[in-house]
Amino acid sequence: MSQKESMTSAIQCHQITKTFGPVVANDKIDLEVRYGEILALLGENGSGKTTLMNMLSGIYHPDGGSIEIGGKAVTINSPVDAMNLGIGMIHQHFKLVEMFTAMDNIVLGTPEKKLPPKVLRQRVLEICQSVGLEIDPDKRVYEMSVSEKQTVEILKVLYRKAKILILDEPTAVLTPQETQKLFAILRRMRERGCAIIIITHKLQEVLEISDRVTILWKGKSIATVNTKETDRRQLTELMVGRPVVLSIKRPEPKNVATSIQVERLTVNKPDGTVGLKDVSFEIRSGEILGVAGIAGSGQKELCEVIAGLTKAESGSIKFHGEELLGKSPMEIFDLGIHMGFVPEDRLGMGLVASMGMVDNMLLKSYRNGKGPFIDRKPAKELAESLVKKLEIVTPGVETPVRLMSGGNVQKVLLGREIESNPSVLITAYPVRGLDINSSYTVYDLLNEQKEKGVAVMFVGEDLDVLLELSDRILVLCHGHITGLVDAKKMTKEQIGLMMTGSTEQEVIS
């Protein structure tokens, strides 16, 4: 290595290894990031990106290998060590005190926190100005939007004078417009000489923002390429480890008919605030209805009210003319309406984490059969047939599902719901956290249901997927419908604008 290179190198990892029990999360990883560049760390879920970054920020300790910061070998034992070395991490799940103001959060844990608020505010505003961030230092975090919270997180690390920034999937929760804003800030910080690592699995963003890309695959660093010299296809192949077809199938809808008619539906969240306000739309059989929106715009309420798990304030939900509101899930079932629901929180709601596949198959059917005893035989047969049909990888049908990988857990859940022969299938973020392979399995399964004439609702976060998979897209913003559009005629930017409150008419005109 030449003298010049090591001068500019911010972080150098040599042969970093980390194991969790039998799982090798990081296997001899080499990684280098220089001051004044943005490095994208690309890889599927479970490829070891977050583990590696957690070691740089002092949360984990590597089992082997060495880390050099600015050319010096270091041992990072705690986030405080990382901070002292100038490394700041912005986590995927924000680590902020909700009740505190932006400023309190920023200075929390620094020795300066005892300074008069006036001085502190001045300092925060100075940092804001220097990188072009906007924030009201006195706003409380719980009143903030997701992108504002992210701004606070960024300010937190800048305030601590971090020169190396690590962002773990920062765009996952942002609209396309907010993403652009974030990227502008990152570029400005690059100009100021910061080293930035951005973790993501969105290829377009990688191509747009980064200078170099390091690709992790199954815990190994398999390649580092210059962004200018690569393209989407090459990156995908490196990431998945083999060539893949990137387009999602969209069979033409057949025999489309109204299945569920929602009219003027209003639902409150448990804390009494508005979840859904006055929404009207229909879900049609033989069609996939995509639902787009910033996280927390009413998707959860929408799914749960249709599934009969939440009460509505007013409005109506009709299934082929039969009113569902006010009926218990049991009564709905007795009407012959089979509702399949794949909730967002798979292990916390859709499945029982500590139980095996067999007992999880029983979750909705354990009441079947007379008498006080459970009949486990059909559940066992169902579990075994699912393992074969969906190629679920598990040591056995009695192994607790929490020990299975995310993709397999989702197959168990989706498989169970599909096997109940639903007439309506509601899925919330069904591919979240899944690798590309499993994601495509899920898309195929949803399309299969659509072709069988099931009315499918797909709540998603990746707009590219929503646009490719859905027939129509419903856009939610703060519990209101801001658009109900034909997916084939829309662009990502148009959906993004509607997600932040512009109406369909405004966007199209």
């Binding site: 194991t19 969790f20 029990g21 039998p22 799982v23 300790h61 590597p62 089992d63 082997g64 060495s66 600015g70 010096k72 070998a73 270091v74 041992t75 990072i76 034992n77 060590d81 002292n84 070395l85 100038g86 004078k161 020169k163 009969g308 798990l309 218990s328 899930p329 049991m330 079932f333 629901f341 909730p343 929180d345 916390g348 709601m349 859709g350 499945l351 029982v352 984490a353 500590s354 139980m355 007992d359 029983l362 979750l363 909705k364 354990y366 009441r367 006080p372 005893f373 459970i374 020990l403």
Partner: protein, 362 residues
């Protein structure tokens, strides 16, 4: 930027993969052995020979038919109330009010023993059994009701109810149920022979009730729809809601049953062993039951074994007390040591250690 080089910590804790069941059993057995060794050191420090003390504990519990009968007698209320709290614990409802539920069951059963002792013996026993179950069940239902209605903290609630139950007994003893033939001495009268539980093999028939309950609970938790519901609610109430379970109803029903089983323990203790109602009817058994239930990993069959071992320890140490003059409180210390080791070994089942290599990582 300070460029301090901090050293890798000497020992790091890492999470391990789930160990195979055989290894887990081995570790637990090892913990038990270590507990006995540590207990031995403790005894040694007191100036006694640990081998002879342990020997006396064993022989004290088994040396004669009478000794075995006494051991089983200690086991009965412990086993039954451990089964009772297990129901609630499976649902992750922290019922630490077994003590109160035992007393409540004993009070209601005692009412029939004291004031309806002229009834046909078997009718009376049946009624007392039901009264014990209902008394304990209702006592368990109170915190459950408040939990589902106002989301109160069941740990505090069940704990406080213990003291209320205890003082109700004091009130009855000093007031309405005071034995007129006791010449002013505050106590409740001894039950008549008709109200006493029969003996089987020289021990009150509570042991049969306990063993039946072991089987019933094992089947209930494992093979019934209600048992399945308890597990799901215990794991996650959103999942239970998702599965269209009536979570409130399940909580109420399970807590009633949990209290009812504890209440049966109270009835059996009062009418089978004490033959009267005293404030010592529970005597801490409700708390020991929590330990037994957890040590046995909430498995009814294992609970039977663990509560038997606890009873051996208790009976044995009373013999140690009379022959060596060593206080029975030492038995409590030994119990605590066992608990410390066995529960502590759970940590080693889930985590492993990495010691710093020589010369550090870099």
């Amino acid at each position: 930027m300070s460029a301090q080089i901090s050293k890798e910590p000497l020992i790091r804790v890492i999470k391990r993969a789930e160990r195979p069941p055989r290894q887990v059993t081995m570790l637990r057995a090892l913990a038990l052995v270590l507990a006995i060794v540590a207990g031995g050191v403790f005894i040694l420090c007191l100036g006694y020979n640990p081998i002879s003390i342990y020997g006396t504990i064993l022989s004290g519990a088994f040396r004669s038919t009478m000794a075995v009968q006494a051991t089983v007698k200690i086991m009965i209320p412990l086993l039954i109330s451990s089964l009772g709290v297990t129901l609630a614990f499976k649902m992750k409802f922290w019922n630490i009010g077994a003590e109160g539920q035992i007393i409540a069951g004993a009070i209601l059963a005692s009412y029939f023993a004291l004031y309806h002792d002229t009834w046909n013996h078997w009718v009376l026993v049946g009624v007392m059994f039901l009264a014990g179950a209902i008394g304990g069940g209702l006592w368990g239902l109170i915190p459950a009701l408040c939990k589902v209605k106002w989301n109160t903290n069941e740990t505090l609630f069940t704990l406080m109810l213990n003291y209320i139950a205890l003082y109700v007994v004091d009130y009855l003893r000093d007031g309405p149920w005071k034995d007129p033939g006791s010449q002013g001495f505050p106590k409740i009268a001894r039950f008549s022979k008709n109200a006493m539980l029969d003996k089987v093999l020289g021990i009150q028939m509570g042991w049969i009730i306990a063993l039946i309950l072991v089987v019933v609970l094992y089947i209930y938790l494992r093979y019934t729809k209600q048992g399945y519901e308890i597990s799901v609610v215990g794991e996650s109430s959103p999942t239970a809601k998702y599965a269209v379970m009536n979570v409130r109803k399940i909580i109420l029903r399970t807590m009633f049953l949990s209290g009812a089983v504890c209440g049966i323990a109270g009835m059996v203790q009062a009418t089978g062993s004490d033959i009267t109602l005293t404030e010592n009817v529970a005597g801490g058994v409700g708390f020991t039951a929590i330990i037994v239930a957890w040590l046995a990993q909430l498995n009814p069959i294992t609970i039977a074994i663990v509560s038997f071992l606890f009873s051996v320890l208790e009976k044995g140490s009373s013999v140690v007390q009379s022959s060596f003059g060593l206080s029975t409180d030492c038995a409590d210390v030994l119990q605590a040591i066992i608990l410390f080791f066995v529960l502590g070994c759970e940590f080693f089942i889930r985590y492993g250690f990495v010691v710093r290599k020589k010369g550090g990582a870099s």
